[in-house]
């Protein structure tokens, strides 16, 4: 039967809209609790209590913060470039959220599953620098401007190594589709070593271990998290690109930053930790739905990032650049060649 107008033009967009809204709500709730977890972990490392007043164990702290940001008055500096000043936090927030549209959280559970999903996520993450640059420039003030210059150089540098990591994964998988990337990790190094059951040894983290490390550190640098938070280093730049922002625009910047962090955790999970695959493909583990494994793995990556933030002191800017260009770039470039060579020689490609 010929599909009616209603079926072709009304139902699919509505269905997609519904999925997107659901994704958005879940994502925002996750961000609220990731923020809480971040502060709690940071506090625990420093032997403090962390947020514990609003709600039981401080569980509602993020919502109190949200309310506070929203009802405060937004202040726009008189000499700021008004249009760009207000556009910048929107760019930061919207870009970070849009990349989540292609992330598969379980088998087939994604708003869209394009052929080039991985490239799409990479493209979006390379654009996130614009929010910071635009905000820093439009504020028309010293500290934000310095921050925007720093972040431009930093994020472009670390994108290079992230790009090479993605190329090695692409070589192993043979596809840029994120679902294919996860499914390709069902059989991997573990299977080649003769382990009968599909396990966590098959995932890319073991076969591509140097790239896993490079990606983890680059992800921290790409999201401007400590120890690479030079664009907002409070001891030098007040609050970096966010210095002149208040109220909801500030909230949007903050939200964008944390959504970008969840995105990087999800990406690490998909690229290296087998996405929604169970750690061992036997009875009690493969009964658990994929989404649970995905969330657990993502949380684990986030916990590692939070620990790095609380333990490692901030890098100096020249050290940061040295790490990006003189350490990560040669390592990842060499790994691209080695991976391609191994795949070709062993006939796994």
């Amino acid at each position: 039967m010929e599909p009616t107008f209603f079926e072709t033009y009304v139902v699919p967009p509505l269905w997609m809209l519904g999925q997107s809204v659901l994704m958005l709500v879940i994502l925002l709730l996750t961000v609220a609790y990731i923020l809480y977890a971040d502060r709690k972990i940071f506090a625990a490392v420093q032997m403090r209590r962390g947020p514990n007043v609003v709600g039981p164990w401080g569980l509602l702290q993020s919502f109190a913060d949200l309310l506070k940001f929203v009802i405060k008055e937004p202040i726009i500096p008189a000499s700021a470039n008004k249009g760009v000043f207000l556009l910048a936090p929107l760019v930061a927030g919207v870009l970070a959220l849009s990349a989540w549209a292609v992330i598969p959280v379980a088998d087939g559970w994604s708003v869209a599953d394009p052929n080039l999903g991985l490239l799409f996520v990479f493209a979006i993450s390379s654009l996130e620098v614009y929010g910071i640059i635009m905000g820093g420039w439009a504020s028309n003030s010293k500290y934000p401007f310095l921050a925007s210059l720093r972040s431009a150089a930093q994020m472009v540098s670390y994108e290079v190594s992230i790009g090479f990591v993605i190329i090695t994964v692409l070589l192993c998988v043979g596809s840029l589709n994120l679902t294919d990337v996860v499914n390709a990790q069902k059989d991997g190094l573990g299977t080649h070593l003769g382990i009968g059951v599909n396990s966590f040894l098959d995932w890319h983290w073991l076969a591509l271990f140097p790239m896993f490390v490079v990606f983890f550190i680059s992800a921290i640098a790409e999201t401007n998290r400590p120890p690479f938070d030079l664009p907002e280093a409070e001891s030098e730049l007040v609050a970096g690109h966010m210095t002149e922002y208040s109220s909801t625009p500030f909230l949007l910047f903050f939200l964008g930053e944390f959504v970008a962090i969840t995105l990087m955790c999800a990406l690490t999970t998909i690229l290296f930790l087998g996405g929604w695959l169970p750690p061992v493909d036997i009875a009690p583990f493969n009964w658990v739905p994929g989404i649970i494994w995905f969330v657990l793995k993502g949380m684990f990556v986030f916990f590692c990032m939070a620990m790095v933030r609380s333990i490692v002191p901030r890098y100096r800017y020249d050290q940061l650049m040295r790490l990006g260009w003189k350490v990560f770039l040669p390592i990842s470039l060499a790994m691209v060649f080695i991976t391609a060579l191994v795949l070709k020689v062993m006939g796994w490609a």
Partner: protein
């Protein structure tokens, strides 16, 4: 198809409008931001024709890297906009003339230009695969790394030479600056470290 053509007109209009704003806006930073908007919509047009790889690479390379550096440089420029616009009317006739000549040339060339699918199929080095059969990257890679490998490598070499040249031109090694040698620091023997308790106000 209706939706596709609607999107085509949307992307095309915004591309042309933002391209116009690139030259029309008074603030160079706004110009760069409009340039980025134009890139985005061009990527949208690529996407509509099914060239998804080109679309995303356009965003990654041009918007994600080139335009960032562009913006970086433009933000640092100290330009007096009033002064820049002073000679505008003086140069308007000659600028308009050049524009007119270019426009006429473009119309002459493109007016007789049409893609004849049969000729293309006959002269193409290998048959153009259908979109449903193979993905963008595979089709591009098949051509780029087999038939055109020499040109591909050559263009890479040219870029490398340009990069090395730029570094050589700008690198000035100053011997009097104290530098951090990480390898030396890491290789230090912990037993050689002298721990001294220094009295306040005296120093070592």
């Amino acid at each position: 198809m209706v939706v596709a053509s609607l999107f085509f007109y949307l992307f095309a209009t915004v591309t042309v409008a933002s391209a116009f704003m690139v030259i029309a806006s008074r603030n160079p930073v706004h110009s760069v931001l409009f340039l980025i908007l134009a890139f985005f919509n061009a990527a949208g047009l690529f996407m509509l024709t099914g060239a998804e790889f080109l679309a995303l690479i356009l965003i990654v390379v041009y918007v994600g890297a080139v335009a960032v550096l562009f913006l970086f440089v433009v933000m640092m420029l100290d330009v007096d906009f009033a002064e820049m616009r002073e000679g505008f009317l003086q140069y308007l006739p000659i600028g308009a003339l050049i524009g007119l000549v270019l426009a006429i040339e473009l119309i002459l060339v493109l007016g007789s230009f049409a893609i004849d699918t049969e000729t293309v199929a006959a002269t193409a080095v290998q048959p153009i695969p259908d979109l449903a059969e193979t993905s963008n990257i595979k089709a591009l890679g098949d051509l780029l790394y087999t038939k055109y490998i020499f040109f591909f490598q050559l263009s890479g070499l040219i870029l490398l030479v340009a990069m090395v040249g730029a570094i050589v031109l700008t690198l000035s090694h100053r011997p009097d600056v104290k530098r951090q040698n990480v390898a030396e620091q890491v290789a230090r023997d912990p037993n050689d470290v002298v721990l001294a308790s220094v009295k306040s106000g005296e120093g070592i």
